[in-house]
Symmetry: C2
């Protein structure tokens, strides 16, 4: 795993793929087709202009009520509700929603760390799989290689404390590495073993970066077997359909 430094502040409209390609030029080994590039949601949101100023948010009644109950900033709650198709829980100072994009997470993934201005927050990309495909394509145009692309964000989990990075978008990496039907070394079938590889890649990359210094990208090398030339179905394929979900 190699942290990618030197991307600098990302502005709306920036072509992340070409910034990434430039930043990788200084590395010992150039960006290759077997690499997996994990980037933070934050720079994707910034590049896509998914930044909001809390000062310009008009708070409605529902948001005001929920914010009072949860002791949260009502403007943040207003934004979170606008980004969501439903509220799963609003309790214990936590607002857990299902976003329009289908992600279940706290505050619709909205937060203000590593954003320049004090009242600014980022929203999740509208379609992070499409973002991943676009960034991959920009890298391909810039350097004629197409590493896999994963967009990562920190999510909490039910039952377990703390956050881990998971994939909210990907391109060129199968979302579920399916071991079902394969056999272990004793000839026993491996059952129900579909590995959420992009989530594991996101978690791994988080170990290699430093949230304070704000390093927004990490290369994972050695996973070439998992990189596909086509972009594939993206991280959306990791969303468990509601009908099969036991905890919604």
């Amino acid at each position: 795993m190699v942290p990618v430094d030197g991307i600098g502040e990302v502005e709306p409209g920036d072509a992340l793929g070409s910034l990434l390609a430039d930043a990788c030029d200084g590395m010992d080994e150039p960006l290759g087709p077997d690499d997996v590039v994990v980037i933070s949601q934050k720079i994707v949101s910034k590049a896509e202009g998914r930044v909001r100023d809390l000062g310009s948010v008009r708070v409605e009644a529902q948001a005001r009520d929920i914010a009072a109950k949860l002791e949260k900033d009502p403007r943040l709650v207003q934004l979170a509700l606008a980004e969501s198709r439903r509220v799963l829980r609003a309790d214990h100072r936590a607002l857990i929603v299902e976003t329009h994009g289908g992600w279940i997470c706290a505050n619709a993934g909205i937060d203000g760390s590593n954003v320049e201005r004090p009242d600014e927050v980022t929203l999740l990309p509208e379609d992070a799989d499409q973002s991943a495909r676009r960034v991959r394509e920009e890298i391909r145009e810039a350097r004629a290689v197409a590493p896999a692309l994963v967009i990562a964000d920190s999510f909490g989990r039910p039952w377990r404390l703390g956050q881990v990075d998971v994939a909210i978008g990907c391109a060129g990496l199968a979302p579920l590495e399916d071991w079902r039907g394969r056999h272990d070394r004793f000839g026993r079938e491996l059952t129900a073993t579909a590995i959420a590889t992009p989530d594991e890649a996101a978690a791994a990359a988080d170990l290699a970066r430093d949230k304070v210094s704000g390093i927004p990208a990490v290369l994972i090398r050695g996973l070439g077997d998992l990189v596909t030339s086509n972009d594939g179905p993206g991280a959306q394929a990791l969303q468990r359909p509601e009908a099969e979900d036991l905890f919604r």
Copy 2:
């Protein structure tokens, strides 16, 4: 990340720490105090004799009923119930329980892949934090270094498809790397950012091993800042208290 090969079949009573130390002797760089050793639940369970023969399980009425509903092996359900303090869900062919050790997972973590005999399954270690501390101590006795130790198992997640490896035991690695109160590079406080480092280490290690070949251990290097000389509270500190849990 370095897969550790050459551990061979683990038998009840084996000292895993000394097997690991031996297996690491062949590496370019010797086992060091900054390493994080991630090992699979499976070898820990085998070493601790937490292996059961389905043929000797006596199925009771509750297990028979649940098994019929879920289309599962009633003997497996019987074992899972015996290992659990409560059933959270028994639906959609899934049995989600809270184990006596406090983990919420499918089938109480019982499974039969990578076990020699066709009717044998492994149970989770009774106290995987204690297991991690013991293995760490065995390594210390064998080589006079005390790398951090993580015991990993594959868990499914609500809302997201596929499995990722998480930590069920650890020693010498803070379970929650707490960034709260620290500030980002713009001077904004990082809120609610406690990273479940052992879970991310478990997920990362899973990318480096191959379930079919059964490589049961991976070294993660470069995380020396996170390794502590004392064993710490273990992975149990990652269990969200029921009173704070919104999805139980």
